[in-house]
């Protein structure tokens, strides 16, 4: 017999986790879609966002400042990384891109470990969001409920940026055909830099807003990176709506499976990814030709 209280709580867990995965994945998928670079340092961007935010929080005691500082810092890291290193790899084989981004990820993690040690760091949620909210049909941590709203707003902002601005139009055109965009007289490389910054910022923002839920440590990005890739594959590589859909599917899959048997929740995730790869190789919402 289904325990309804448990079922609804798990639905919520899935929604929160799904939103988080969607946000991180959207950054990854925008970068890949536009630049053709699979950024294996994306998990490290998530981690850096958490640490930068934590440092800002330690000095100011303000959660809002922490979120802004964390996001901007990671956007800056993304831009510098693109300017100094990544752009030299645009015309290199995919393996080289994977290796260099993987290496950068390790460097970031080890630098943080060297600077801050392995003990995990906590950032408390802002005072009004501490505690538990009784929704009538269930009780749920207040900050997790708020997180759902915070991430939804961030995703909406990203959506508006991509679909309602000139920059977004160029980025989307770049995803379809970057050579054409270039020949139209638009400096694709400057756009690439901005895109990398935005993509990294999405991960960094996720890193700091998630810090009150899961306290941060140098390795936090590693675990989330794998799930993020699964989300991108399910949703369709390069597709922003795909990242959101993939994230929600992954979140609910993990949560609802764990209600029956937690040991199988990640297995189910890979089963679904495999099914998608077999029956729809370009992902649920992926563009044709991006397989």
């Amino acid at each position: 017999m289904i325990n309804w209280a448990n079922f609804i709580s798990q639905l919520f867990n899935g929604l929160v986790l799904g939103a988080l995965l969607a946000l991180i994945s959207s950054g990854l998928t925008i970068i890949y879609g536009t630049l053709g670079v699979l950024n294996l340092a994306h998990g490290a961007m998530f981690m850096l966002g958490g640490y930068a935010g934590w440092v800002a929080f330690t000095y100011t005691g303000s959660f809002v400042v922490a979120v802004i500082a964390g996001s901007l810092f990671v956007a800056l890291v993304g831009i510098v990384m693109e300017r100094l290193i990544i752009r030299h790899f645009y015309n290199r084989p995919h393996e080289d891109q994977l290796l260099v981004t993987f290496g950068l990820g390790i460097v970031f993690v080890e630098l943080v470990r060297f600077g801050f040690g392995s003990l995990s760091k906590s950032v408390p949620p802002p005072a009004p969001l501490v505690g538990i909210t009784d929704l009538g049909f269930m009780v749920y941590p207040t900050y997790r409920l708020a997180l759902l709203g915070i991430i939804s707003v961030a995703l909406l902002a990203l959506y508006l940026l991509l679909y309602r601005t000139r920059l977004g139009m160029i980025v989307r055109a770049g995803i379809e055909d970057s050579v054409m965009v270039d020949s139209l007289g638009i400096n694709v490389y400057k756009i690439f830099m901005v895109v990398f910054g935005i993509g990294a910022m999405a991960a960094g923002f996720a890193g700091i807003v998630n810090a009150p839920v899961v306290s941060i440590a140098p390795d936090v990005g590693e675990a989330i990176l794998v799930q993020t890739f699964v989300v991108v594959v399910i949703g369709g590589v390069g597709s922003f709506p795909g990242a959101v859909l993939g994230g929600l599917i992954a979140g609910e899959l993990i949560s609802l499976t764990s209600m029956v048997n937690p040991a199988y929740s990640y297995v189910m995730l890979f089963v679904v990814m495999t099914l998608v790869l077999v029956f729809r190789p370009r992902g649920l919402l992926g563009a044709v030709g991006r397989e």
């Binding site: 867990n13 986790l17 995990s120 538990i132 941590p141 997790r144 839920v213 899961v214 440590a217």
Partner: protein, 450 residues
Amino acid sequence: MSDSKLQNGEIPGISRRNALQLSAGTLLTTFGGLQWAYAADQPAMGTWPEGSKGDTVYLGAAVPLTGTYAVQGADELKGWELAVEHMNTNHALMKKLAPKVNNGVLGKKVALVFADSGAKPNQALQSQQTFINKNKVVLMTGSTSSAVAVALNKFAQREKILYMPGISGSNDTTGKDCVRYGFRQGFFGEMAANAIGPVLVKNFGKNRKAAFMTPDYTYGHTTTQSVADYLTKEAGWTVVTNQVSPLGTQDFSQYLTNIANSGAEFLVNVNWGRDAVLSSQQAKQFGLLPKMTLVLPYQIPFFAKEAGVEISEGVFAATDFWWTLEDKYPLAKMFVEAFQKKYGYRPEWGAENAYVSFAHWARMVTEAGSFYPPDVIKQWEKGEVIPSLLGDFAYRAEDHQYLHPVVIVRGKAKKDMKNPEDFWEVVEVVDGAKVIQPANAFGCKLGDYT
């Protein structure tokens, strides 16, 4: 005890090979001098004799410096480093634990080589293989994950190189998967269960409902089994749910939601390292704590520091060592002082376990007067009572487990802390011999010497 296998047509105790060795030895003694007889009695095996030919012997540690157990691994590594330094410099504490240490061991300087295991068995095996090839290590150590300990146990037996796991809480390490070449200094799940069980029953009574959280590998499963068995059989407790999660889980919301709806009064968290910190912090977020009473049957070094005193306050845990025991035990005081002087903080039990492991190895080698592994093992198996930081105890010859006491602690409230590291009060020091299971309870078969 004979270490040769009895085969058809052979005299018990003397195999054809032994007979040949014996005659060859006699001949060589006559014509080649004593040195040769020694070599014939002690055939080359593992890294012997290469490993102890130079002026330095190497000890190889595969220790988690990244991942879920990174914090505990780093503390352990410091314990090994300090022990090696003390062996080479005749530190007073090392002389108490291993009196024949003299500027090193048997005339050799001791050096530590280490690599990150990430708490993964494969990575640990690869590191140890490199240490064997490159440094000819005479002792392997490191785990902080019993999955690694069990894998290295088997590897040690195959390679004929001594192994001490360091932190390893699984019953299997010196139980089902025990080996002739492995020796464990620290306590483990079954001992923890038998030590903390009576304290829980005394404080909380009979017929209570508990939810367990278990990491999905040998340590988690065996410890949960032991603790649950004790509470259900001795005091009629009920296990209402057991949530098993993979090592390195970040978000425990799914598991906690299942527990929230289970009707449990106690949250017995068998998770370890960062898994335990995150799951306990999130249990508080979900309102499970303080509604349920948290219990940590196998205590986690730095848990209180990482998770916060508001979570560790009032929590009962079983541990190997806590630094305030220095008030009662002189050797513990020497250790805490030396460690704090070098590293700037008071050691937790990862470092203590590591230090004492190495000291015991040094003692056995110097007492045996040889690095030849079977001689060292036989010295160990004499079962002599030898010192630890908490008094003098013996290794049990049948399963190579040290009968170390189990320390029961309870988390202090912030207002009662006398300094920033005063997280736990010692409730009881339980005699290890009284809480350990019979040597054959988990099916230990040690295997061969050679």
